[in-house]
């Protein structure tokens, strides 16, 4: 094992560059997923008959498929029906598709956790559905949803590593190029990779825990 060679300044810079891509893709995807997932959850929560059931089937299907398959599919299969995307866009699309479905369920769970009595009270006091959602349900539900949403973001950060299969130049991909040079680099590189993911994700999970404690 050659730790000194593996951790040369040039290599570390190359890794950090990859980490930048990882963060960029993860942050864009989580923002998009939050918006789309929120919209899906609201529609399902309001029980607009046909659309709600349709969304339920789509969400369940996506949630039950491997993300790796969705990434492959987005990049290699969708072009066959005319949907072509560059690598970064494909990675973001695939991650957003998958995470939206995950977040939709978390948000719906949050909405459902609000006591129905409150809704009735709000409605009978003259608020319409949108107002009830906005002033009564969302503020409470959002607070409950923050910890699971942070956990989901951690999953997303880990999941970006799967985009190596479409050669997205993110952290894991760049590490592969480095350890491809010498066998003695493999273990040092994997340790460095694990540490980089760990530091960010553990930090995030501590924030989530703090938020959870505050709520109780």
């Amino acid at each position: 094992m050659d730790f000194a060679g593996a951790y040369s300044a040039g290599h570390l810079k190359f890794l950090l560059k990859g980490f930048g891509v990882t963060l960029e893709v993860a942050i864009i995807s989580i923002i998009l997923s939050f918006i789309i997932g929120g919209a899906i959850a609201t529609v399902r929560y309001s029980r607009i008959t046909f659309i709600s059931s349709l969304l339920a089937v789509i969400v369940e299907t996506i949630r039950n498929l491997p993300l790796l398959l969705i990434i492959f599919f987005t990049y290699f299969a969708l072009p066959e029906i005319g949907l072509k995307m560059p690598i970064t866009a494909a990675a973001i699309t695939a991650l957003t598709l998958f995470e939206s479905a995950m977040l939709a369920e978390i948000i719906r769970g949050g909405l459902n956790s609000i006591d129905k009595g409150q809704i009735e009270a709000a409605r009978s006091s003259g608020l319409n559905f949108i107002q009830t959602l906005r002033y009564i349900i969302l503020p409470q539900a959002l607070r409950r949803m923050v910890p699971p949403i942070v956990s989901q973001f951690i999953s997303l950060l880990k999941d970006t590593s799967l985009a190596v299969v479409i050669a997205l130049p993110e952290l894991t991909h760049n590490a592969q190029i480095i350890y491809g040079q010498k066998n003695s680099y493999v273990i040092p590189m994997l340790i460095m990779l694990a540490l980089m993911y760990f530091i960010v994700n553990f930090g995030l999970s501590q924030i989530a825990r703090r938020l959870e404690l505050k709520r109780v």
């Binding site: 498929l65 993300l67 398959l69 290699f76 299969v165 493999v186 994997l190 990779l193 694990a194």
Partner: protein
């Protein structure tokens, strides 16, 4: 949709399906036992065990399963330990999933009323006996739905075997699409194979969750 792709390559699909199931089931069983051990360590009154258990859970929960897989496939090989793709992938899946299962079981143990441990101890059982005979059986019953969820994740995560030539569904899909010069249909069939496994599992989990909620 071209069903000849499915029929022409049925052997490959079936082999992949078989290996996906084998990897998932073996990883489920081993991650369950590992998870129980780690959970017991985490709540153990012995400080060192406690730290080890917590460190294990926090570390493996916060790094991508892909990196653990690379470690067992390429990393161990660089120091002379040989595992093929299927074995390396299954081992990595077991370790990764065990961290989540340990957390679930720990939560289950915490939900068993404290009085039970005291009662068991005062009736003459040792700490280990009380844990094994009284607390764990109840805790595991409570967490069966979340174990189910972990199994679904396992089936989905097993797709990373494809990246280390693990001969699973994802891997075979690549071979089929390289030969058939189509990707779209090849991956749709793969998606169906996964859904056949995961949808009944998720419905089962939903059902158990409901039943558990009712019994409380």
């Amino acid at each position: 949709m071209d069903f000849s792709i499915l029929t022409d390559n049925f052997g490959l699909y079936l082999e992949g399906f078989k290996n996906t199931i084998i990897a998932s089931v073996i990883a489920l069983v081993s991650s369950f036992f590992l998870g129980v051990i780690v959970a017991v360590m985490r709540i153990s009154p012995v400080k060192v065990l406690n730290w080890l258990g917590t460190g294990y859970v926090e570390f493996f929960r916060n790094i991508p399963v892909l990196i653990i897989t690379f470690f067992f496939y390429f990393g161990l090989a660089s120091i002379g330990i040989e595992l093929d793709g299927l074995k390396a992938g299954t081992t990595a899946l077991s370790i990764y999933t065990s961290a989540f299962i340990a957390e679930a079981i720990r939560a289950g143990i915490m939900s068993v009323p404290k009085g039970q441990m005291e009662a068991a101890r005062s009736s003459g059982l040792s700490y280990n006996q009380s844990m094994r005979l009284i607390i764990l059986p109840q805790a595991i019953k409570i967490v069966i739905p979340s174990l189910g969820n972990q199994f679904i994740n396992l089936v989905k995560n097993s797709s990373i075997l494809g990246v280390v030539a693990g001969l699973d569904l994802m891997y075979q899909a690549d071979l089929i699409s390289a030969r058939a010069f189509v990707t779209f249909d090849v991956y749709l069939f793969v998606a169906m194979f996964y859904l056949v496994l995961t949808i009944p599992l998720s419905l089962g989990v939903h059902y158990l969750e409901k039943r558990l909620a009712r019994s409380h």
